[in-house]
């Protein structure tokens, strides 16, 4: 055996094809998954075009679900890349919706002010979640599980007191009927053959693009990856770990508030129980989008495809003969497992490509 010299340059700078690079991108799985799920449901509904699953009404319906969960998924992805969870987004949706509805219909405040108050409340709770996580060093899973229950419980109890025993606040629709600000959250962009495409589509695309830009093209984005990779290593390189985490908890809470504004102004009522399970759907969206549960790696763009997978599945099942929406939860769980396995595989290819 000869002594191994430094490897030759040719061996080292072997060109990598764009296709191979794409295969190691974190969002690769979600793009393939989105196409696959779409084709699968189209096949299961008999490749029919023009009605049911493959109609503009159908498309508008699952895009609506996609956009709503996608808004949460994008910010939750960033937080998960930074190595933390936020389980409180679900009850934050209920609580924020309630605050908005009470400001508008119980106290008669103008809508713009009510929206500002709602977001201020969400940002405050988000800050508190983040502060507790970084100060106590407790896992965010536990801290936000606590705030999940506390927000839900306090929301229920206080609403009953303030509304004489009800947990639903109505009258938002009539109070905001002619307010142009309401259109920002419940407006219809355009209709094609009876399929209404709502303004939340713009919010969703905006949030995803902003999150992706921050993650990939700013200093802060670099810090998000680093903090999730190793807190101690980041700190030793001068990254403000606590600030990064707290800001991201505020971002997830703000996205829950946006979700709440869209829902309350679209439906016209607020229910404190709204948003249940959304915390898990947001996490599943992020994981399908290629974000690791352990942090340090992932994609905000991928969460958009993850949300699409969720939206198509939720509505697609409804159109498949012999199935009903009871199967939604089952399929969602299955998708999560498959996505997590796929992410592992992609990560191995990306980091172990040495072979």
């Amino acid at each position: 055996m000869t002594v191994e010299a430094t490897p030759s340059e040719a061996q080292r700078i072997r060109r990598v094809s764009p296709w191979r690079t794409f295969l190691t991108r974190p969002e690769f799985g979600s793009i393939v998954g989105a196409i696959f799920i779409f084709l699968l449901f189209w096949a299961l509904t008999g490749f029919v075009v023009g009605k049911g699953f493959m109609s503009t009404q159908g498309f508008a319906a699952y895009i609506e679900i996609t956009a709503q969960v996608g808004i949460l998924g994008a910010t939750v992805s960033l937080l998960m890349i930074a190595g933390e969870f936020d389980l409180s987004v679900g009850s934050m949706i209920g609580a924020a919706g309630l605050i908005l509805a009470m400001c508008v219909s119980t106290y008669g405040l103008p809508l713009w002010l009510s929206v500002v108050i709602t977001f201020a409340f969400a940002l405050g709770i988000g800050w508190l979640n983040g502060y507790l996580v970084v100060r106590t060093g407790l896992p965010s899973f536990i801290v936000t599980l606590g705030s999940l229950y506390m927000l839900r419980g306090a929301g229920l109890a206080l609403t009953r007191v303030l509304t004489n025993g009800l947990t639903i606040v109505s009258g938002v629709g009539t109070a905001t009927a002619n307010d142009p600000i309401a259109w920002l959250f419940n407006g219809t962009l355009f209709s094609i053959n009876g399929g209404d495409f709502k303004v939340e589509l713009v919010w969703w695309i905006g949030v995803v693009l902003l999150a992706t830009w921050i993650l990939l093209r700013t200093k802060f984005g670099n810090w998000i990856f680093a903090v999730g990779g190793s807190k101690d290593a980041s700190r030793s390189m001068g990254v403000p770990v606590s600030r990064v985490k707290i800001l991201l908890f505020m971002a997830t809470a703000a996205s829950a508030a946006l979700f709440a504004c869209i829902q309350v102004l679209s439906v016209g009522t607020a229910d404190v129980l709204r948003g249940q399970q959304k915390e898990f759907e947001a996490i599943i969206t992020a994981v399908i989008g290629g974000t690791l549960l352990t942090g340090g790696y992932g994609s905000a763009l991928g969460s958009a495809f993850g949300a699409f997978v969720l939206g198509v599945t939720q509505l697609g099942i409804f159109f498949v003969p012999g199935f009903n929406s009871d199967w939604y939860a089952f399929v969602l769980g299955l998708l999560l497992l498959v996505a997590a396995l796929l992410n592992n595989w992609i990560l191995r290819r990306a980091s172990g490509a040495r072979s």
């Binding site: 191994e4 430094t6 680093a226 290593a233 980041s234 990254v239 172990g352």
Partner: protein
């Protein structure tokens, strides 16, 4: 003293002590390093090496004694303060983030930006360019600067961290066990780079418990044992065996070996005694 500035130590600890509660972690330790010099800090586990380097990198403050830079006493109030003064510490397991790309790692915490206000963004192109150049300079060809650091070998990762510290203007490099988790070939990459940094005029403090790694690169050897300095030896003054025995606490080792001898002798005499009776 002022006339011979070149002999002034860039970084120095003068009779420093540190207590953790009632435990004496360091007592009266002195260590210094000059520009273009490698001081190897040797010692067994628990000898106080980590405490000393944490002190030199601004994590801990000395309870007694002083730190000095260029001959002037200084207080290092935080790791950030130490970095700002040109002291770069590369910790063994905290050197790099394996799931991030080469250029993202290289510029972590020092990202170049373009634009201003809300449009201020991470200048990824120039980061890629500089990272590629720097890696090439130290002899590591990067396939793609988007390549994850996890694909690099252990030696290359440590070297990346050292190159990064040099690039960002470090005057003192503190390397915490950079070779302890590495094989022979990988260690060689790191040792070669230590000599390179020395040739560039950096002051290097190289912490290790592997004497074989220290001997070929060290100008000075400082040995710690049980929180105390056993002494500073110049290159050529000491050999491998001597360093080894000093590290393990020479007297203790001798004591141990005589004790072991006795045990062997007793065992032998018992063995010969039993069949006879």
């Amino acid at each position: 003293m002022t006339s011979q500035t070149s002999t002034v130590s860039v970084l120095e600890a003068r009779n420093v002590s540190k207590m953790f509660g009632r435990v004496v972690a360091l007592k009266d330790v002195t260590l210094s390093v000059r520009a273009g010099e490698v001081n190897c800090l040797l010692g067994d586990n628990g000898a106080g090496k980590s405490t000393l380097i944490k002190m030199l990198s601004g994590v801990h403050r000395p309870d007694g004694g002083t730190l000095a830079m260029d001959g002037e006493p200084v207080t290092l109030s935080s790791p950030h303060d130490a970095q700002a003064r040109g002291i770069a510490t590369v910790f063994q397991d905290l050197a790099v983030l394996p799931l991030m790309s080469v250029s993202r790692n290289f510029f972590l915490g020092n990202e170049p930006t373009r634009g201003f206000g809300p449009f201020k963004r991470f200048d990824i192109n120039s980061a890629d360019e500089i990272a590629r150049q720097q890696m090439k300079e130290i002899g590591i060809e990067v396939r793609e600067t988007s390549q994850l650091v996890g694909t690099m070998s252990g030696g290359e990762r440590q070297t990346l961290a050292i190159a990064r510290a040099e690039y960002f203007g470090a005057r003192v490099l503190i390397l915490d066990e950079p070779t302890s988790a590495l094989g022979v070939k990988q260690s060689a990459i790191v040792l070669r780079h230590i000599l390179r940094a020395r040739a560039k005029g950096l002051a290097v403090i190289f912490i290790t418990h592997n004497v074989q790694h220290a001997l070929p690169v060290g100008d000075k050897f400082t040995i710690l044992s049980h929180g105390r300095s056993i002494g500073e030896f110049k290159r050529g003054e000491v050999g491998l065996d001597q360093l080894l025995s000093l590290m393990g606490g020479g007297a203790e080792l001798t004591e141990l070996s005589t004790e072991l001898e006795q045990l062997r002798a007793e065992g032998a005499s018992q063995e010969t005694a039993t069949p006879a009776s």
